[in-house]
């Protein structure tokens, strides 16, 4: 198998922190959003770190961030976009193809 036939891994997703964010968001049911603090707790990340990575994912239009008010308290809601979900799916497909190509190592 030649180098050219190996799939490229999406650099937006292929970084530990952002991969974990994506996985956590992909674990939500379709149409659901998660609050920033709950996501932070699911990932054990600092708020600053999570914000940074969310911004990069948002720039790629993989996540959608909504600011809303609940009982006059501001809440930040996060969800994976259809584009983000598709990108994550092709990312995992690419990973499996890579593994197959390199003989499972």
């Amino acid at each position: 198998m030649t180098e050219a036939s190996l799939p490229e891994l999406d650099p937006v997703i292929h970084a530990q922190a952002r991969l974990r964010v994506t996985v956590a968001l992909a674990g939500l049911h379709h149409g659901d959003q998660i609050t920033f603090p709950r996501l932070q707790q699911l990932l054990d990340m600092t708020a600053g770190n999570l914000s940074t990575h969310l911004r990069k994912l948002e720039d790629a239009e993989y996540v959608e961030i909504t600011k809303a008010y609940e009982h006059r308290t501001p809440v930040t809601l996060v969800k994976l976009t259809a584009k983000g979900r598709a990108a994550f799916e092709s990312y995992t497909t690419a990973l499996h193809r890579l593994l197959d190509a390199t003989g499972g190592n």
């Binding site: 891994l9 292929h14 970084a15 530990q16 922190a17 991969l19 974990r20 996985v23 956590a24 992909a26 674990g27 939500l28 049911h29 379709h30 149409g31 659901d32 959003q33 998660i34 609050t35 603090p37 709950r38 996501l39 707790q41 699911l42 990932l43 770190n49 940074t52 990575h53 809601l77 969800k79 995992t92 990973l95 499996h96 890579l98 593994l99 390199t102 190592n105």
Partner: protein, 218 residues
């Protein structure tokens, strides 16, 4: 750019990370129903089992009927509180359809059981029912309603196991009035509570098996 200075991941490491985060997410958000069903299994097996053993048709009842009644009441209050806690824990920080569905489902239990209690109390007052008929009225209707609500849950979450469990409890409701008193308590305890236990164990095994190795695809 400060936080992109991570080690480059190999495909295998990446899949590993996906599996681990998936496990964590599912454990916290999906919080499989094994433990919740286990709590209810305990409640039904022990609670109704004691009521059965305390029935005065036995030569030597285990305890006075009212004591068994109090134990059942306490067990149910604890199980209901745990159910509410379980539901709240899953939906904490989640907004959207699944939270709404969960809340509506939870309220369905509250509303319909409140109405069932009212109806049965009224029937008890209106008719001159002997204690056996009253006992059958309660075991039959509450098993029926419990079963129907699990049927609804099975439909909502497209969960065959839950649907099958609901059907089983509905059948138990029918059986409980056929066997009469105190056999109806045995149906509640062994068939009903046993059903909860089986369902709990099946979910437990499933959660184990589909655990860390598989990439979830919902």
């Amino acid at each position: 750019m400060d936080d992109d200075e991570e080690q480059p991941m190999s495909a295998a490491e990446s899949l590993n990370l996906i599996a681990r985060q998936n496990e964590r997410t599912r454990r916290e958000l999906g919080a499989g129903p094994a433990r919740l069903l286990g709590v209810w299994a305990f409640t039904w097996l022990i609670g109704w089992g004691l009521v059965y053993l305390a029935d005065d048709s036995h030569a030597r009842p285990l305890m006075p009927g009212w004591t068994a009644g109090i134990v059942v009441a306490v067990l149910f209050v604890v199980a209901i509180a745990y159910s509410a806690y379980h539901g709240g824990r899953i939906s904490r920080g989640i907004r959207g359809p699944s939270r709404r569905t969960g809340a509506m489902y939870g309220w369905s239990w509250m509303i319909s059981f409140a109405a069932l209690t009212l109806i049965n109390l009224r029937v008890m007052k209106a008719g001159e029912l002997d204690p056996h008929t009253i006992s059958l009225l309660w075991s039959g209707t509450s098993l029926l309603l419990t079963g129907v609500l699990y049927l609804a849950g099975g439909m909502l979450w497209q969960d065959r196991l839950q649907y099958g469990f609901g059907a089983w409890i509905v059948v138990c409701g029918g059986a409980s009035v056929l066997v009469g008193v105190p056999g109806n308590f045995l149906v509640l305890s062994l068939a009903g509570g046993g059903g909860f236990l089986v369902a709990s164990l099946v979910y437990f095994v499933r959660e184990r098996r589909s655990g860390p190795t598989r990439v979830a695809d919902r």
